[in-house]
Amino acid sequence: MRRFEEKAGQLYGMGLIAGFCHLYIGQEAVVTGIQAALEEGDQVITGYRDHAHMLACGMSANGVMAELTGREGGYSRGKGGSMHMFSRDKQFFGGHGIVGAQVSLGTGLALADQYKGNKKVCATYFGDGAANQGQVYESFNMAKLWNLPVIYVIENNQYAMGTAVKRASSEVELYKRGISFGIPGEQVDGMDVLAVKAAADKAVKHAREGNGPYILEMKTYRYRGHSMSDPAKYRTRDEVNEVREHRDPIDLVKKLIMDAEYASEDDLKEIEKRVKAVVNESAEFAKNSPEPDPSELYTDVLIEA
């Protein structure tokens, strides 16, 4: 994920990715831990910082990168771009650019699951900024009223674009936002993938067994700006460096692996090499995939026009 995002950042710098591109670097433990708790057929929906979620769902790096460059080989054939990708095959329902809109949609997906009685769960991701949108609370109410199989994952990376949580939220402990609806909530160290996984296991079990929604507030941090055009002047360099040096989610996993001797330094280097190869290939694919035909402008609007 991190190498993919770094490569996306490079391609953006080279002008191959245009428009908006929100990188997930620093937050990787969240989606990794949550996805590890899901089973096949469970679905995922998120906001605009979505590349890592797609990779975690098993979508191909080639297809995601080619969507970023707006090419035919992209998941939405270039029609969506960074924030707007879907995969029916991997049960990934986007990729949504309107902050908070996906929370209600994810609740609707869970309502469909309940109707079908298929014992599936919907992981609905949103950020600390989206947590203040009104329709989030409309959704919380319905989710608990009908005990829908949905887990709400609040990725609290501390900043809604450039606004710190405390500047925008009267209650900064976001896991408490479900209290008045009767939805249990938990705050989790979102930089520790094992803590995330353990919390997710509990939440998913709760939802799958018909007990209704569950809120997980993941305390996490993004290293890069909100988008590529954000110099992140609303926080100090020291603050970012402090997290990078002491709380980095990938360093933590590396340490765990080395300490327990699950793998050697050489093994990890080998994995790193393979990851680089996948990412490099995706960049090549995304550069070489043709642009969509202009006739695609008018397809997929209405079925019967």
Partner: protein, 337 residues
Amino acid sequence: MPTKNMIQALNSAMDVVLDRDDDVVIFGEDAGYFGGVFGATQGLQKKYGLDRVFDAPINEAAIVAMAIGMSAKGLRPVAEIQFADYIFPGFDQVVSELSRIRYRSAGQFTTPVTIRTPCGGGIRGGQTHSMSPEAFFTHIPGVKVVMPSNPYDAKGLLIASVESDDPVIFFEPKRIYNGPFNGVPDAPLTSWATHPKGEVPDEHYTVPLGKAEIVRAGSELTIVTYGTLVHVAQSAAEKAGIDAEIIDLRTIVPYDMETIAASVNKTGRVIVAHEAPRTSGFGAELIAQIQEECFYALEAPVARITGWDTPYPHAHEWAYFPGQERFIRTMKTVMEA
């Protein structure tokens, strides 16, 4: 043939689709237990159960979003927004999600949602219970917009909407739920039972989306309209003694330009009419298209009959509502031009 008013026809349509397809679910504010504020869903929860016909909290944004989420997973939700005036909290979900998920997933997901909502004035509802907001929805690529003018079409169009794989915003002119309305406020109420379009079969049938109907054939003048004003136009034409051809659009988007152009090319004179305010109303789109396609056939400037550019008033409702007088005056002006 059984007769039905518009509410009964809509109820029958929902009964038919619920019966035929387990993927159809119906929900909205008061839509379940209570059976709808106008009674359109009456008896359906009892017949089909709580899972398929249910009440929603007063959350229009989430109601629309729930429907979208369910539809992306293969269901065919019919969501009721109690009054069209209430739809705006859900407008973002219509604009940004409902209309576009098919496009931005490159066809991987479709959202066959039908949103039913009563619209229009004539019931002294004031500014938050009388709007005709259809034009807003005609400006959103990816949704269809429908407004029936009678019980037969209401049932057939609603079934077609639910069965369509595209999302549909289905406006129901509430002034004519119980009977056709000719625009004269103190005229005695007429019942659908005596109107030919009040004859509504109990079984399944569809009225195709995107097809207008010529409700009165004529040679001197074309009137293009929809909803309640179809009846006002018919009555006014009789009174004025003008041989008008009256076209009921039925589907506002995509609209049936073929039928409109054929009529305009024959008559050379056109009025477009709607209850909604004038500026940027759907009439403006119709006029633009008419002049593009029929300019050389026109004998007179195209005229518009609309509501005013004001909120829908409570006190002077009939000064706002485009009634017979406005129709007759405009028809004469267009004939004399």
